[in-house]
């Protein structure tokens, strides 16, 4: 059913259609509207049987989900940013135990400085945790990926994050097609766990494993994600058969035929990128787009195949591997090893910094001309950065960096307190 609705509300409805049995809720912006809506549905008796648990932290949220999933209940939670980091120990544990928990990550920057706006630093920090990560471009895709996520997680018995850009998607009102319960039931069978805490068949879950078997257990987590490379496109096909929509898959290309330059990105920024590429195409530029939906598993072969006929690529990513450059870009470079393709990394939009079309036009043109440094920081205020670097040379007690930036950029009315 078509609806004009908020992204979070749409995702909450999609989750409810998936018949979760245990939902753990802890508030953190910008995911909070999702669990609020689910809480209301459970309390109103619209989503039943389901236990909605207001936990005391994200660490507890994931831990409760570990317990409920291990006891055979379909389990869901949502988080973002600091919340994801606060639950990290349990995030790794859920993957290590092979529990098919589904979690929405409303992608948000990580402090300090504390910042509630969107970038991809949070979930990308968990890229090696064993969780799969799917990135939604639109709210429609967020809805659809959640439904696919339960199938994927439960078939492989591995947890999955569905990542959607905080505020840009979670708080955007737009038209979304909410599937019917019959469609979802036809797509998603009841949860049949591979391992379950059951007094009728007692087993120990999570006991210590020494060097004699640990590597094999870890390899099997990798093997599961390799299976996911096969499974994700199949689940997207099956989804299309039932729901009549192309949604999900590993990657999605746009205007990539005969493209000499390919822009690679994840999430909602793909919309802006496509607009820019349309405009550049109209001017005769040979430029195309590669959207990565599945960041984990990372579809190395598919990315390589999509890029191999081009001459160069630029990865526009909302994340930063401090001390190195790009996170997504590193993965892409792995995919094109030995191909001779020129690759550029552009770090953009950190902490919700707007990524305007004008900046992308300039960036993509520079990429076409191969005039970029290997790593470019889009719309970085070099004057402010250099002023702070100079200040630190001159003054030992140079003060809090973040406050100095705001002074130097003229956002705070008076000049910097320190030098």
């Amino acid at each position: 059913m078509l609806k004009q609705t908020e992204g979070s509300k749409a995702v909450a409805e999609a989750i409810a259609l998936c018949r979760p049995e245990v939902i753990c809720a802890y508030p953190i912006s910008p995911q909070t509207h999702i669990v609020e809506a689910l809480g209301e549905m459970v309390k109103a008796g619209e989503l039943t049987p389901c236990e909605f648990i207001n936990v005391e932290s994200e660490f507890a949220a994931m831990s409760v989900a570990i317990g409920s999933s291990a006891a055979g209940a379909r389990s869901y939670t949502a988080t973002a940013s600091q919340g994801l980091l606060f639950m990290v120990e349990a995030v790794y544990n859920a993957a290590g135990l092979g529990l098919p928990i589904v979690m929405t990550v409303a992608n948000r920057a990580i402090g300090a400085p504390i910042n509630i706006w969107n970038d991809h630093s949070d979930s990308l920090s968990q890229r090696d945790s064993g969780w799969m990560q799917l990135f939604a471009e639109t709210n429609q895709e967020a809805v659809d990926l959640h439904i696919q996520a339960f199938r994927l997680a439960e078939e492989l018995s591995m947890p999955i994050m569905v990542c959607m850009d905080g505020f840009i998607l979670t708080h955007a009102f737009e038209r979304v097609d909410i599937p019917s319960q019959e469609q979802v039931d036809a797509y998603l069978p009841p949860f049949e766990p591979r391992q379950v805490l059951d007094p009728a068949e007692p087993m120990s879950i999570g006991a210590m494993v020494g060097p004699e078997a640990f590597m094999e257990v870890k390899y099997l987590a990798h093997a599961k994600q390799m299976q996911a490379i096969e499974l994700i496109p199949k689940l997207a096909d099956e989804f299309k058969n039932i729901f009549g929509r192309d949604s999900g898959g590993l990657i999605r290309t746009y205007q990539i035929e005969y493209a000499e330059t390919v822009v690679i990105a994840m999430g909602s920024i793909l919309g802006t990128i496509k607009d820019v590429v349309d405009e550049m195409r109209a001017e005769g530029h040979k430029i195309g787009v590669l959207g990565i939906i599945s960041f984990r598993p990372f579809p190395l072969e598919q990315v390589r195949a999509a890029l191999i006929k081009s001459k160069r690529f630029i990865v526009l990513e909302k994340s930063l591997a401090v001390g190195m450059g790009g996170i997504v870009a590193t993965n892409v470079r792995m995919a094109v090893t030995g191909s001779g393709l020129r690759g550029f990394t552009a770090i953009a939009g950190l902490g919700g910094r707007a990524i305007p079309k004008s900046s992308l036009h300039k960036l993509f043109r520079q990429a076409e001309q191969e005039e970029l440094e290997p790593v470019t920081f889009v719309d970085l205020d070099w004057a402010a950065v250099n002023k702070q670097l100079e200040r630190e040379k001159q003054t030992r007690r140079s003060g809090p960096i973040a406050e100095n930036m705001l002074h130097d950029k003229g956002i705070v009315g008076v000049s910097a307190k320190f030098g």
Binding site: F59, P199, G206
Partner: protein
């Protein structure tokens, strides 16, 4: 415990044989059909109080739940000595997740059972004092506050024994641990710190809080069974001496547990909805020295460089417990 009028015909001691009790009053451990939930062959040290406490507690919980029990276990000695795959001792469904999340994992299991309509399946969570009073405390308090249907059992051996005997918030003052060494003018653990988790649990107004020791195993069984007859969040802290961590003889585990209770160092009581409902009275009051001296962790308080004033401060703690919980028989408090 629910005192039945038992006549001590035999020896005049404070013990009574099961033979003198009716079948349904006999201990769980005396029953050949007990669940043996933590099987023999595990790797606990000789004289481990925690292994003994866990055996009695879980078998009692199994008896009370007709074998429909699931356990969540925090990281710690109990988890390590009972499990390494493929040698698990556990004869019930058992999960270990992390050091600090056993109460939350148990909440999740209880929620799953509720949603599946399995009200017959009960849930226990268990951990040592480090996993309970320190790193797992946030999750524990959350579980209490929501009144989740979980019995949490803390095996209190007063330190991080699994990692090599470091101080926890349950370590008593003056005790030597690897992080509170007996050096300097105030050797051992400091006074004025530490957490009384049974009292904090009571402050959550949960249905049931109790303490017990491995010296009174009938009392321990009774408290576990009573807790299992209730719903909601319940907490039992069991005093379990650690021969290795305390520098005590393996054969002194029961004696030290009894002395902790008889000195007043470890008050044994039960509370319902935040109010103390019963205490296990001291039978033969003894001075704290008798409890402290067999333990090398307190050795620096005695001998050539003795600290009698520190011993006096520990005695004051015991005396305060005795007053507060009215631990002496009527008329002696």
């Amino acid at each position: 415990m629910s005192f039945q009028p038992v006549k001590f015909y035999q020896t005049g001691t404070l013990t009574v044989g099961n033979r003198l009790l009716a079948q349904d009053e006999r201990s769980v451990q005396a029953n050949q059909m007990r669940s043996n939930s933590i099987n023999s062959g595990h790797r606990a040290c000789q004289g481990c109080g925690e292994a003994l406490g866990a055996r009695y507690a879980i078998d009692a919980a199994m008896a009370e739940s007709n074998g429909q029990l699931i356990a969540a276990n925090a990281t710690g000695c109990l988890e390590v000595f009972s499990t390494p795959y493929p040698e698990s001792s556990w004869q019930l469904p058992w999960i270990h997740s992390l050091f600090g999340n056993a109460p939350a994992v148990a909440t999740g299991i209880a929620a799953a059972m509720k949603v599946k309509g399995r009200n017959d399946v009960r849930v226990v969570a268990q951990g040592g004092d480090g996993g309970t009073t320190d790193i797992g405390f946030g999750c524990l308090s959350g579980m209490f506050e929501r009144n989740d249907d979980v019995l949490y059992i803390c095996y209190d051996n007063q330190g991080y024994m699994n990692t090599g005997v470091q101080r926890s918030s349950a370590t008593p003052p003056a005790a030597r641990t690897a992080t509170t060494m007996p050096v300097g003018p105030e050797p051992g653990n400091v006074f004025g710190q530490g957490k009384n988790v049974p009292e904090i649990a009571m402050a959550h107004n949960i249905p049931y809080v109790a303490t017990a020791t491995v010296a009174d195993l009938r009392d321990l069984e009774y408290k576990v069974r009573k807790a299992m007859q209730m719903r909601g969040a319940r907490y039992i802290q069991i005093f379990v001496p650690c021969p290795l961590g305390w520098g005590a003889a393996s054969h002194d585990t029961i004696r030290l547990a009894r002395l902790a209770k008889e000195t007043g160092m470890f008050p044994v009581f039960e509370a319902e909805h935040g109010e103390v409902t019963s205490v296990l009275k001291i039978r033969n009051k003894v001075a704290v020295e008798e409890y402290l001296k067999p333990q090398k962790r307190f050795a620096h308080l005695f001998g050539k460089h003795a600290h009698p004033e520190t011993v006096a401060r520990l005695q004051a703690i015991a005396d305060r417990n005795i007053r507060k919980y009215k631990l002496l028989p009527e008329g002696e408090n």
